[in-house]
Amino acid sequence: MKTLEGKIAVITGGSSGIGLATAKRFVGEGAHVVITGRREKELKEAATFTERNVTTVVGDVSRLEDLDRLYAVVKEKHGHIDILFANAGAGTIGPLAVATEAHFDQTFDVNVKGLFFTVQKALPLFKDGGSIILNSSVSNVLGLPGFSAYAASKAAVRSFARAWTLELKDRKIRVNAMSPGPTETPALETTTGLTPEQAEQAAAQFASQVPMGRRGRPEEIAAAVTFLASDESSYITGVDLAVDGGMAQV
């Protein structure tokens, strides 16, 4: 049984890591996905995992006109949305004592403002009974030195799921947050601003902090997102699903 047969899904931040793994799983479950990303080359390459059932739209979630373009494409191609995985996020190191205004703004522009409008602008196309999944993070409840802006932005994301559950309940649209723990994605090395040595150290340290003793694989996070996207989770709304190997649970 394919759990997403014929569904139309939008995934922001779909070029790599968790977003790309989720796109692959969704397509495997029978969905057609529209993936977005800021870098055209990476996005196009990412989409080559399948010959059909994937559409790419280059854009930045923190730019409202890019979101308008995204949903114009979705509307023209599919007419509606069943599933939205608001996954695009950014997190760079910025210790309290030295973090700049630009660091703070960039983090909140992508993770909070970008996600807010990603969902708002999807609503006119959303089918009643659909599923929205917001990518939060275990850091929404953990202290993570050097990443306070990131952690706070992810706590905001978790909060959105509560209010939006109520705002969208009459349309039977479920809204859930999903909080991955440390995951084996390229992001740690490429986007956090850590040196390769620091990134390696951080990865080892994360693994030691996880009761399961390792980082998650993108496919494992994607499996949980697929569960939340499908009717398998038809009585789940407003939750924060921790997929963290126990990191924030013990």
């Binding site: 309940k169 499996a223 989770s233 709304t237 407003g238 939750v239 190997g245 126990g246 013990v250």
Partner: protein, 244 residues
């Protein structure tokens, strides 16, 4: 989907309600299921419904000798065990001021002590890739009149998964809590009556009670490798009841 193909599962409180719904789902996904419950008649009816991949063992989770008989039967027929759904639970109403020692003992014997020994006695049969699911409740995080013992016992269950994730480190066995909200089991429908069911539906953001099959679907997710990076988590299946 046959995500549980070849797996062996134990479900306590498996003759009716959520346990039975999970048993159906596990078997659909390819598992062999032992259901455990106190009433032979209900067990017989359940096995008749579940078919050839189900067995029943009669007993109470609060009786350690009964649990030994359960796992002896599992070992004899299957050798090993992959999935434990520690689901048996009990709850009755007593307001602060009216609580008796018997009321507390009865509730905690089943929900806490029973859960602990259901899992402890399963461990010798379990190994890497094993999944333990504990039935919690939205009552474990909310306040409801007259629910002192039940709510506290379910809060205790939620904690068991936190501690056990640490105790089970290195074994490859995961443990998670599934916390249902108001679920339309036969037992709950009879206990709540029409008015009570309406009241729960109105309180719940999804505006209805759960079908037991919806809880069974989540148990199957937690039992399967689709949740392979989840341990010590609580999955609220409550229509948003305790989330907002």
């Amino acid at each position: 989907m046959t995500r549980l193909s070849g797996k062996t599962a134990v479900i306590t409180g498996g003759a009716t309600g959520i346990g039975l719904a999970a048993a159906k789902r596990f078997i659909e996904e390819g598992a062999f299921v032992f259901i455990f419950g106190r009433r032979q008649e209900a067990l017989d009816a359940a096995v008749a419904e579940l078919g050839p991949n189900a067995r029943a063992v009669m007993g109470s989770v609060s009786d350690l000798a009964d649990l030994d008989r359960l796992y002896t039967a599992v070992k004899a027929e299957r050798g090993t065990l992959d999935i434990v759904f520690a689901n048996a639970g009990a709850g009755s109403v007593a307001k602060l001021g009216e609580i008796t020692a018997e009321h507390i003992d009865e509730t905690f014997d089943t929900n806490v002590k029973g859960t602990i020994f259901t899992v402890q006695k399963a461990l010798p049969l379990m190994g890497k890739g094993g999944s333990i699911i504990l039935t919690g409740s939205s009552a474990g995080t909310t306040g409801a009149p007259g629910m002192t013992a039940y709510s506290a016992s379910k809060a205790a269950v939620r904690n068991l998964a936190r501690t056990w994730a640490e105790d089970l480190k290195g074994t490859g066995i995961r443990v998670n809590v599934l916390s249902p909200g108001a679920t339309a089991t036969e037992l709950a429908k009879a206990a709540l009556g029409e008015e009570g069911q309406k009241a729960y539906a109105a309180m719940t953001p999804l505006q209805r009670m759960a079908d037991p099959a919806e809880i069974g679907a989540v148990a199957a997710f937690l039992a399967s490798s689709d949740s392979s990076f989840m341990t010590a988590s609580e999955v609220a299946v409550d229509g948003g009841l305790a989330q907002l």
